[in-house]
Amino acid sequence: EPEVTQTPSHQVTQMGQEVILRCVPISNHLYFYWYRQILGQKVEFLVSFYNNEISEKSEIFDDQFSVERPDGSNFTLKIRSTKLEDSAMYFCASTRGSGNTDTQYFGPGTRLTVL
């Protein structure tokens, strides 16, 4: 069964450093998402992406964040200058169709630890 995959599983970085989290969505999916989950808290929406454009973003997704689909398979989340409060699990998700017509399938997550 096709799955969303994410690398690395755990990323440790120093405050102020840039990180890139990588995702390979399910192959025939067209819409891509990033969510984060701070330890012990709810899963929170960051951004959705379609046709090489951001379609929706939350207040969390400020200028420090960016997303890119650099090729036909990868979808990345970049945090330009990490802060301690960026420490969280970051989940990528994808859907075949748009909005609320299709289920979002989640990857296993990347645990980001900012020291």
């Binding site: 998402y33 330890l39 899963v43 959705s48 929706e56 939350s58 748009s98 909005g99 989640f106 296993p108």
Partner: protein, 112 residues
Amino acid sequence: GESVGLHLPTLSVQEGDNSIINCAYSNSASDYFIWYKQESGKGPQFIIDIRSNMDKRQGQRVTVLLNKTVKHLSLQIAATQPGDSAVYFCAEQRAGSYQLTFGKGTKLSVIP
């Protein structure tokens, strides 16, 4: 705002019993609802969904009930098994939006 270190409601059930997990959603404009299961260290796993034009949907061993009048969603798991132990989240989505809004989660512990 939300408190740091959210304390999850916990539901403990005996193996073989039925489980009912409840969720109150906030947005009356939401028209799509999903239950996800999250095991420790893993991503949310889709269980079952329901659209606002329905009030009940059944899957394999799971049933979702939707009461739009009181904005309440429930997940029923029949014959609960040890493998069902996880945190269960409801999520809502409103028409025209891409984002899922997740609830707080309920930790289900199955006693063998």
